[in-house]
Structure formats: structure tokens, C-alpha cells
Symmetry: C2
Subunit: 229 residues, 2 copies
DNA sequence: CTTAATAAGTGTCAATATAACATTTATATT
DNA sequence: AATATAAATGTTATATTGACACTTATTAAG
């Protein structure tokens, strides 16, 4: 069969929805918008949009993230394709969900405002349209799995961060607490952090040393498979 | 916007492709078919088909697996949505890939024949249509990740299996070899296998005890998170 | 300048998990 | 009775994990 033969098959609208994670120092956050059109106008929703024939689905996801946040070259990963029949009452729509990790203060405030976007703590999420709650739950699980073996937590932190910020992030992701000494030992033993001579002085009198993630060192060790927990 | 508003957006053909894994005692295998229609007719391909508006994508995947193998209630998991623009020269088609684990001898031989289906060792795969090679590669990676923490390897073995069969399976999945004593100790320590009084006698004079996977025991321990490696 | 307050930084020990390694056992065949 | 075959099993050294508390650097207050 050629192009002609495919004509007989059904065609779907393909939406892309983005679970955008951020970290504010205390809790893991997701960026939600107030849905601006029917159905379910006015309810909280993930940022999404429809894919276009002339772009790949990955490109659609990037476009949608850019539209909301003004950000490009962001860590983003496909999560899952949601394809229940009546998941969107507005039409026969399948949705490919992506999750992104951004630094919360780097997004474009005006763009966020124009979409009535707001950060919500994952533990205090409002009710969401359609199956977006399932998407967020799955994204959180995937994030937990991924963070355990890949150095993506750093995407949520400033380039320079203290050991306590890093620990707070991991504690937020796993909703648990770690022993400070064991955590520091474990993370430093991986050999992918570089300690800066500089200190963060606002949160204590003594000051805490900054660290940066060293991508080159990581690339060398990556094949051996590091465990970040 | 209501149903009318969605009209303005592009619609896609949605294919579903299945990476069907099997294990024959030595190597990890994938089930391929000879593609029976254009484009790329006559080339090796994953089993696939187009999703229909009246079914979910998961249901489409099950339907396609059933069509080829005659099997239902099979372990199957969504892998990834492949959405490059020109991935299928026959039309604008996105594909949602699934991977399934089946017992190689339980599939319907006639159905397999009617699709000119054949099992290929993952290490000796022929060239495949479109992006199916990427799909297989990703499926293999996902299988490796998944098998490490979930008891899905048993889906590829007979209900009763010997410790050596199980070890051979893990060795095939990870393309490595394990020490027999350490492997046995590790697996048994999980406490999810039940040893039968019965022995498999064809491959040795002494005979090897059969084991079965005990789903009930696993369910009790699942929340603690078992490591199968 | 001394003291107090605050968060940062650090080490040990016990328990557990892993990795490396060879011999004995059960059975069928000759 | 001897032999051949694959199955079954245990020990030790090393590495990793988890539990646990005191010292240090600095600023602010008196």
C-alpha cells in the first residue's frame, strides 16, 4: 500500500501536555495554567497544545514549553502516551505527555502571567482537567526513578548550589529525609561534583560551600552507571 | 472551545507497533513479520497496525498482539511514542510502541505463519523498516531496566522452570554471565520463588528442581521494592 | 572583647550486601 | 563397580549502607 491506502484509517488529534517541575528550596513544584478555553475552561490544567503535521512530537513539546516559559534547551523527556477513548470530552484526542525540569526563577514571568500560570507544591495540587492528575502522578514516579540513576536533579537547582540545597531537593523528590553525613558522603563519592572556594552566606553565619555539577567528569563515569541514592 | 473548535487542528494517523520478546533457553528473541504491504513490502518489520477511534491505544496494542499471536492477557507495557515527521514515508503517522513478553511456544503457529512471522535473536536482527530498529533498541534497554526491579522475567519462562533456565534468561537479557552460586543465593533470598518437589530430568542425570514464581508472596513484598539483580 | 547563637562540616562502627572462588552430590550410563 | 554429567552448596574478603554526635566558623548581641 502507498499513501493512498493509509486513507482508510482513522485520524486522531494529538495533544502534547507538559508536566513542568521546579524546586523552590523546600518543595517540589509543578507549573499549572488556568485553562483558557472550553471544555473545562477556568480549571487548572497542565500546559498543552496540539501537535502539527509539520513538526515532530518532540518539537511540539518544545514549542509548548517555550510558549509558556520562554525557555529552550531544557531537560525534557517523553513520559507516556495517554490514549483512553473519552479522555478529552472535546474530541477524540490522544495526548503525549512530557516532563520538563526547569529552574523556577528562569522562566519568563510575563509569559507565565499571560497564561495565568502558577506553581503548585506537588503535595497541594488542585484538581485538574481530564486525566492530567494521572499524568502528574506518573511523572512524579518517573522522576523518582530517573533521579536515582541520572544526574538530572541538577536541572532543578541553580548552577551553583550548596550541599543542603541538593539534599533538600532529593528529600523533596522522594518525600523523605536523609542523614546529612551519609548523604554528603554518598554524593561526593560519585566524583561528579566540584567544590567551589566560594560560600553561600545568607542562610548561616558560617556559610556553606557552593558546588557545581561537573558534566565532563560525569560523562567519563556514566557508562559504569552511577547511583545517586 | 468545544468540539467545533478542535476542528482547526491537524489530525494524525496513529500506528501501534509491538516489540514481542521471547526466550528459547539460549537467547532473547524478538518476533518479526514480513511486511505484507507498501511501503517497504517484503521487509522485516515489527507487528503493527493502526489505532481506531473507538478503541484506546492500549486496546489497539492488545488487538494487534492478539492478531499475530492469538494471545490475550499478556504482559505488555507502553514503550514510547515515536513522532518524527517523516518516520513513515507512507504518510504522516506517529507510532506508539509497546513491548510484550510471551512464552515462545504458546503463540498460535498458524497465525504466525499467515504473517510470515519469525523469531530473531536480538543479536542477529535483520534490517527493519522505518524506525523499528530504534524501537527494538529502546525496548531492550527498557526491558533491562524493568527486569532489574520487577518480576517480569517469569513472563518469558514456562510456569515451572529450573534455576539454570532463570539464570540463562537473566544472562540473555543483560548479555553477560553470572556466578551460579551468587545468582541462586540472590534470587532465593528475595523469597518469591517456590521450590517444587519435582525435577527436570532431560538435561542432566541428577535432575534440577523446578521452581514457580509465587505471586502472592511477591505482592506482600512488592512495596518494599525488590531487586532482581 | 567576650559570649551566645546558628548552621556547616566531619568520623566511626556495626551490619549488610556483594563478589570471588571449588568441592560434593545425585543419577544414569557403561 | 566405575565413570560421566550437571546440580547443589558454603566461606571469606571486600564494599556499601545506616545509625549515630560533636566540633568549627562566623555573626550578632551584650
Amino acid at each position: 500500500m502507498g499513501r493512498a491506502e493509509y486513507k482508510q484509517y482513522d485520524r486522531f488529534l494529538v495533544a502534547v501536555d507538559c508536566i513542568i517541575f521546579g524546586f523552590d528550596g523546600t518543595g517540589l513544584k509543578a507549573l499549572l495554567i488556568k485553562r483558557g478555553f472550553e471544555p473545562e475552561i477556568g480549571k487548572w490544567s497542565l500546559m498543552g497544545g496540539f501537535a502539527r503535521l509539520e513538526e515532530s512530537i518532540d518539537e511540539a513539546a518544545q514549542r509548548i514549553l517555550l510558549t509558556l516559559t520562554g525557555l529552550e534547551e531544557i531537560y525534557m523527556e517523553q513520559l507516556h502516551c495517554f490514549g483512553e477513548v473519552a479522555r478529552d470530552p472535546g474530541g477524540q484526542v490522544i495526548s503525549v505527555a512530557y516532563f520538563a525540569l526547569i529552574k523556577i526563577d528562569e522562566s519568563d514571568k510575563e509569559k507565565l502571567d499571560s497564561h495565568q500560570a502558577k506553581w503548585f507544591d506537588l503535595k497541594k495540587m488542585p484538581s485538574l482537567v481530564f486525566d492530567h492528575k494521572d499524568m502528574v502522578r506518573l511523572a512524579k514516579e518517573r522522576l523518582q526513578q530517573k533521579v536515582a540513576n541520572h544526574p538530572i536533579g541538577f536541572e532543578l537547582l541553580p548552577n551553583k548550589f550548596t550541599m543542603q540545597q541538593l539534599q533538600a531537593l532529593y528529600e523533596a523528590v522522594y518525600e523523605t529525609s536523609f542523614d546529612k553525613r551519609n548523604f554528603t558522603r554518598k554524593i561526593l563519592s560519585l566524583g561528579v561534583l566540584q567544590k567551589l572556594p566560594e560560600k553561600e552566606k545568607t542562610s548561616s553565619k558560617k556559610g556553606a560551600f557552593y558546588y557545581v555539577f561537573d558534566k565532563k567528569k560525569y560523562k567519563k563515569l556514566e557508562s559504569r552507571g552511577l547511583s545517586f541514592l
